[in-house]
Symmetry: C2
Subunit: 241 residues, 2 copies
């Protein structure tokens, strides 16, 4: 079984439509390539209780939890507090973080000093070329919301998540989805380890439905594709890759 | 208090990174313009138990729930079943839906016929110019995953959600976020009905931080902006709109 992950996007600006979230799709693609199964994306407000309860339930249910957003110096940056609460920990001042903040902001006020606090027992993951290190508490990794920073930090530590890859095949269909539903249903039942998706494309000229088959076992994937091709009406199968 | 909403995006293809979700941002923008507060976006797999538990908890917690995806004819289209389970209802064949499906697909097989089933007690919302009507059960509105269809259907029924609008102001800051954090903190405490956001922009040349203030009461918003401008160092405030 693949390891599972949840991504928690923290930010009122996403929920109010002011900013379009890019981080969840970036992480979805990255995790897939690493062989990790993303099982939930939750976009939640900058609210410490919401953060605490979402992080707590995800940390129990999934192998990895990635948060994005809410770690700056302002009043709405409450992710660290929420993550600490999720595990019943206190926030404690981290000297290394304080040093990094003084370097950037000068001698900080009390409000800004909150940025130097981490949940007790968490790890500051120092990485080459990264100014502000991401923080880990148990299986929860805390990332910034700014996409450029999140991408750079994730790239620097992603190898620790790498696992057996997903393999995939695609079948392009030139016909309505209802013509293939029975065949997909029977193959999905016969090969439970193969994930089968069926995606109608209304803007495509060349084909009407894209069928995807994915598995971590090459043999199961190959057999499922072969048996599905036998069931599908030949005249609507454009190509298989 | 504004009415609240949750958007549930159902689809393995989003979680595996194959498809980039566009529907949640579209709905976030639309709901904001209608004066509805989007409080959660959840992206979940095509899994009937996950759908049932997410829909059930969201329907209790928020005024409106919008689902997207999982309503076609194939094995992975289990949204209707999940929504029915969330309310402890059965799926029942709907004659009007059956008629619409026969029109499109011819006389359907048993598998395809599942598309004509709706949760008992739900409403088929017939709208001008819409072939397949969206379904409502209690406060849950079931939409398709294909963005073109979702947009068209939402546009046709959105007026029923319209409420008092959100008003907003923006302040463009040419300085580090840590220089304004104390001021934002004090205004956020003084005006709890005003939502204040602070967004560092690393790719912008003209300014470094965008501060947004939003409220449904004009007077509170105006006062919060005025008092914030008095607190901020004048030399870093570029402009206010």
């Amino acid at each position: 079984m693949p390891r599972t992950a949840a991504v928690i996007i923290i930010g009122n600006e996403i929920l109010s439509g002011k900013v379009k979230d890019e981080n969840s799709h970036f992480l979805a693609v990255e995790l897939r390539q690493l062989g990790v199964k993303l099982s939930l994306v939750a976009v939640i407000p900058d609210d410490v209780d919401e953060i605490a309860s979402t992080v707590a339930s995800c940390a129990k249910k999934y192998d990895y939890v990635f948060t994005s957003g809410g770690i700056g110096p302002t009043h709405d940056d409450v992710t660290m507090k929420g993550v600490a609460m999720a595990f019943g920990r206190r926030l404690v001042l981290n000297d290394r973080l304080k040093e990094l903040i003084v370097k950037r902001c000068g001698v900080p006020s009390d409000v800004v000093m909150r940025m130097a606090e981490m949940p007790e027992g968490s790890e500051l993951i120092e990485l080459n070329g990264i100014n502000f290190p991401p923080v880990r508490l148990e299986n929860v990794f805390v990332f910034p919301g700014i996409p450029e920073f999140l991408k750079k930090k994730f790239a620097a530590l992603k190898e620790r998540f790498r696992d057996k890859p997903f393999l995939s095949s695609r079948i392009y269909i030139n016909g309505e989805e209802c013509l293939i539903a029975d065949s997909l249903d029977s193959i999905a039942r016969k090969f439970p380890s193969v994930e089968i998706g069926s995606y109608p494309k209304i803007a495509e000229k060349e084909y009407k439905v894209l069928v995807t088959l994915e598995a971590r076992e090459e043999e199961a994937l190959k057999q499922a594709v072969e048996e599905l091709l036998k069931l599908l009406p030949r005249e609507i199968v454009l190509r298989t890759i």
